[in-house]
């Protein structure tokens, strides 16, 4: 019989897999949205089966608090985006415009930047 030695520890980032940067919340994000191990391992190939099992065990014991934490994370992300928009730093993507047109605009922007850089460098184009 094999006994899992994977531990879930908390050293400040919230519960995480011992010896790994992956946290319970990283995995729970997918579990909570109905994904299974095979899917999650595609997203995080370094996640081993026994590590996943240890997370699932932890999730079963702390489900409600993790759901609440997940809700807080989503709220934090929304707030972060709102703050970024307020500073004019968020790039809204207008999906009603075809991708080729959006890429052409990016290309124009690049040429403009290169022109500005060339002027800064005294007329020598920078690539």
């Amino acid at each position: 019989m094999s006994v899992s030695t994977v531990r879930i520890i908390d050293i400040g980032r919230g519960p995480q897999i011992e010896g790994h940067r992956l946290t319970v919340m990283d995995v729970f994000y997918y579990l909570h949205r109905g994904y299974d191990f095979d899917f999650i391992q595609r997203a995080m190939p370094s996640l081993k089966r026994e590590e996943f099992d240890a997370v699932v065990e932890y999730v079963n014991e702390h489900h409600d608090e993790l759901v609440e934490e997940d809700r807080c994370v989503e709220a934090r992300i929304k707030q972060g985006i709102a703050e970024q928009k307020a500073k004019g730093l968020y790039h809204e993507i207008d999906t009603s415009i075809p991708l080729e047109v959006r890429i052409a605009r990016l290309r124009e922007k690049l040429h403009q930047r290169q022109k500005e850089q060339a002027e800064k460098n005294g007329g020598h184009a920078s690539h």
Partner: protein
């Protein structure tokens, strides 16, 4: 020019998808223009369980853009706290996925991530010192 994206441990699979899309006909000219390369935690020489502050400092020292999904608790050595405490006007931003799982559901979302990333890289001087920048 070389742009190095340091991929956090929970985004390794996402990075593979982005790398493949960037190498496609649609985006290859940009991949080549910026010299975009993906670097994974295990390639950095850092511990597999390196803390956020260690990772952030490495990025600043080496000129890497950290790419994360930001789902962790705030603590003194968390990414958020580190950015607030140690960030300078010329610090490189951290790119953060808003909804990382979508990359597996929607091919057009991959293009939106690439486009957003390129917009930031084109605006590089204005992006410095901004701390965290969200990808769609």
């Amino acid at each position: 020019m070389v742009v190095t994206l340091l991929i956090d441990a929970n985004l390794d699979g996402h990075a593979e998808i982005l790398a493949m899309r960037l190498a496609s006909e649609t985006w290859r000219e940009w991949l080549e223009h910026f010299g975009i390369r993906f670097l994974y935690i295990e390639q950095t020489g850092l511990d597999r369980n390196a803390k956020d502050d260690v990772l952030w400092r490495m990025c600043q020292e080496k000129g890497y853009y950290l790419v994360t999904a930001n789902r962790n608790r705030k603590s003194d050595d968390s990414l958020e706290a580190t950015i607030r405490r140690e960030g300078k006007p010329d610090s490189l931003p951290v790119f953060t996925f808003s909804d990382a799982g979508r990359i597996y559901q929607n091919a057009t979302y991959v293009d939106q991530i690439v486009e957003s990333l390129l917009e930031y890289l084109l605006d590089e001087p204005n992006c410095r010192g901004t701390g965290r920048l969200f990808l769609p």
